[in-house]
C-alpha cells in the first residue's frame, strides 16, 4: 500500500512543480493558464490517491470533483480577461500588463 500511494504522490508532485515552473517562466498569458491547470491536476491526483489508499473514503473524490468544476470556471473567466487584454494591447505578453505600475 505505501509504495503505490508514494508513486501516486510522486506523480502529483511532478505535475505540481511543472505547473509552478510553467506559471513562473511563460510570458504568454495562455501558457500561465496552462500552468494553473497542471497545478490543479497535481492536487487532484493527491486527492484521489488519498481517497483510495487511506481512511479518507469518498470525501477526497468529492473534493476533486469540486476542484475540476472550479478550474473550468476559472479558465473561462481568465480566458475572457486575456481576450480583453488582447483587445486593448494587441498582445498576450504578461510583461506588457504594467499600466498600474506607479
Amino acid at each position: 500500500m505505501p509504495a503505490e500511494l508514494n508513486s501516486y504522490l510522486l506523480v502529483g508532485a511532478v505535475l505540481f512543480v511543472c505547473g509552478v515552473i510553467c506559471m513562473a517562466t511563460k510570458r504568454n498569458a495562455i501558457g500561465v493558464l496552462m500552468g494553473v491547470e497542471l497545478v490543479l491536476n497535481g492536487a487532484n491526483v493527491n486527492f484521489v490517491a488519498f481517497s483510495k489508499f487511506t481512511t479518507l473514503g469518498l470525501d477526497g473524490q468529492v473534493f476533486s470533483l469540486f476542484v475540476i468544476v472550479l478550474a473550468a470556471a476559472e479558465a473561462a473567466v481568465a480566458l475572457a480577461i486575456v481576450l480583453n487584454f488582447y483587445n486593448n494591447h494587441l498582445t498576450v505578453d504578461v510583461d506588457r500588463g504594467n499600466k498600474l505600475k506607479g
Binding site: C18, K26, R27, M34, F53, Q61, V62, I68, L79, D93
Partner: protein, 195 residues
C-alpha cells in the same frame, strides 16, 4: 505496481515536462492534452471512475477546447512564441528541481501505514467498518451523487453534516456568476487604440 500505472504515470509526467519545455503555445496545448488524459487514466486505475470520466469530459473536452480557442483568437503572427529570458528559465528550473527533491524526501519520510493505524484508532474505526463497499467494484457514481445531495450511506453510523449539499449549491451559483461574468468580459466591443 501494474504496467498500466507505469505507462500512465510516465505519460503524465513527460507531458507536463514537455508543456514546460516547448515554446509554441499550440504544442503546449497538445502536450497538456497528453498529460491530462493520462491523469484521467490514473484516476480510473485508482477506482475513481466518475472522476476520471469528469476529467476527460470537462478538462480534455471543455477546458482544452476553450484554451485552443483562446490561442487561435490571440496568437497572431509574431506572438506565437514569446521567449523568456535565459536567466529566468535557469533560476526557475533550479528552484523547481530543489522543490521537487524536497517534496520527494517529505513523501518518502512519512510513515503512511502508521498514520493510518493511528487515525483508525483515534476515530474508533475497524478495518471492515469503513463502508464505501462500492469502491472495490469501481462503482462510485451512486455514492458521489448521494454525497452531493447531503446523504451519506457510505459513512458508518451516518455522521450528521457529512454531506456536501451546501458546497454543491454554492458551486452551482458560482458557475452561474462565472457564466454571466465571462460573457460580460468577452463581449464584442470597439477595439481601442494601442497604448
Amino acid at each position: 505496481m501494474s504496467l498500466f500505472f507505469t505507462i500512465f504515470a510516465l505519460a503524465a509526467c513527460l507531458g507536463a515536462v514537455a508543456v514546460v519545455i516547448s515554446q509554441s503555445v499550440v504544442r503546449m496545448a497538445f502536450w497538456l492534452v497528453v498529460s491530462l488524459g493520462s491523469v484521467a487514466g490514473l484516476f480510473f486505475l485508482a477506482d475513481a471512475d466518475f472522476i476520471g470520466a469528469a476529467q476527460l469530459l470537462i478538462y480534455v473536452g471543455g477546458t482544452l477546447v476553450l484554451l485552443v480557442f483562446g490561442i487561435m483568437l490571440t496568437a497572431s503572427g509574431p506572438y506565437m512564441k514569446i521567449p523568456a529570458s535565459p536567466g529566468e528559465t535557469v533560476v526557475a528550473g533550479l528552484i523547481g528541481v530543489m522543490f521537487l527533491f524536497m517534496v520527494f524526501a517529505t513523501i518518502n519520510g512519512v510513515d503512511w501505514d502508521g498514520s493510518r493505524d493511528r487515525i483508525m484508532a483515534a476515530t474508533h474505526q475497524t478495518e471492515g467498518a469503513t463502508g464505501f463497499d462500492d469502491r472495490s467494484e469501481g462503482n462510485t457514481l451512486r455514492p458521489l451523487g448521494f454525497a452531493l445531495l447531503g446523504v451519506r450511506p457510505d459513512v458508518p453510523n451516518g455522521v450528521a453534516g457529512a454531506g456536501y449539499l451546501l458546497p454543491f449549491e454554492i458551486a452551482s451559483v458560482h458557475l452561474l456568476v462565472v457564466l454571466i461574468g465571462a460573457a460580460y468580459l468577452a463581449r464584442a466591443k470597439r477595439r481601442q487604440d494601442v497604448v
